[in-house]
Amino acid sequence: MYLSRIRITLRKSILDPQGKAVEHAVTSLGIGRVKDVRMGKYIELTLDGGSEVEARQVTEEVCKKLLANPVMEDYHYEIEKV
């Protein structure tokens, strides 16, 4: 079995108001040095059998067709044998 760990983030060009709100909260905590906050989603897929190449293909397809909207989001993933 394989485990895909997927991270979905808003594209750089897109303003992330949620991240901005958290950034303001961090600042008001009195914690300095936090320059920017971006929020995203974390998704795990457990994949049955097959090879790592197949696991990669399936992950890619699921990301493209469902998990991420390419107009506003980027996705990254790592695959691990479990």
């Binding site: 897109i14 303003l15 108001p17 949620q18 709100a21 469902l66 998990l67 909207n69 107009v71 506003m72």
Partner: protein, 248 residues
């Protein structure tokens, strides 16, 4: 033709909550036929117009509208639109149309991060569409919005194409019709409140015309969108019939 009533099909997804308002506006206020279409059904029951209503289909999981587009009924809605059928997506329905690729762009979280529920003014940018034909060009309509993700965004090229083709049908404006930042409730690009596809038969908008239809509620500007649709369908049938009899 004897039947001068238009049949509206209101799609019901799990989590739709403006389906009944749309049904009520079509049936009781505009005196047309209306029927609910459960999202698992692949039959549009002979509807002339499909409404994708507002709400929180599938709890807005993943992204607003992202899951609803995989419902069986949506395959039929896409087919219906490809054949030229009229499709109106209101609020969550607009989000679904975007996720389904039937309209370009996305709706991001409101720039204020707040759910905004209030009356807004929108300007009719194009009165020549099948959804706005009874409006005057540049007319200002008062229609309520109620959403957390209505911040329209698309890339520069797509925006240029939308503007060039006259696909931006509604823009948030001040009461006098001026397009100003202060009148933009959610941060939408170019104050966009509603867009239409290139073929002119699929419209998505964030404001709720069905909530501004019953005179009891104080505003009836939303009726104009429904009246335009009704006129378009009835005229379309009429011109089709004349074309057919002409051929004979």
């Amino acid at each position: 033709m004897a039947a001068s009533r238009v049949k509206f099909g209101v799609v019901v997804f799990p989590g739709s909550n403006c389906d009944h308002d749309a049904y009520y506006a079509c049936k009781k206020i505009l005196h047309q036929d209306a029927e609910f279409l459960w999202h698992k059904e692949a039959d549009l029951k002979g509807a002339d117009v499909i409404i994708l209503p507002g709400g929180f289909s599938y709890g807005d999981y993943l992204r607003c509208g992202a899951i609803a587009r995989f419902s069986p009924v949506m395959k039929e809605v896409v087919r219906f639109a490809e054949r030229g059928g009229l499709v109106l997506g209101i609020c969550n329905g607009f989000q679904i149309l975007l996720e389904a690729g039937m309209l370009p762009g996305v709706l991001l979280r409101n720039s204020s991060l707040r759910f905004v529920c209030k009356y807004v003014h929108v300007r009719v940018e194009h009165a020549s569409t099948r959804f706005t034909s009874v409006c005057a060009q540049g007319e200002v309509l008062a229609i309520p919005i109620a959403h957390g993700e209505g911040n329209y965004f698309t890339d520069h090229e797509t925006l240029k194409r939308l503007e060039g083709n006259g696909q931006v049908v509604f823009r948030y404006c001040a009461a006098d019709g001026e397009i100003v930042d202060a009148a933009n409730p959610n941060g939408s690009l170019a104050n966009i409140a509603g867009i239409i596809n290139e073929a002119g038969n699929v419209l998505g908008l964030m404001p709720h015309p069905e909530r501004a239809s019953d005179p009891v509620l104080g505003h009836t500007d939303g009726q104009k969108i429904f009246h335009s649709i009704i006129e378009s369908v009835l005229l379309g049938e009429h011109s089709l019939m004349t074309a057919e009899s002409g051929r004979r």
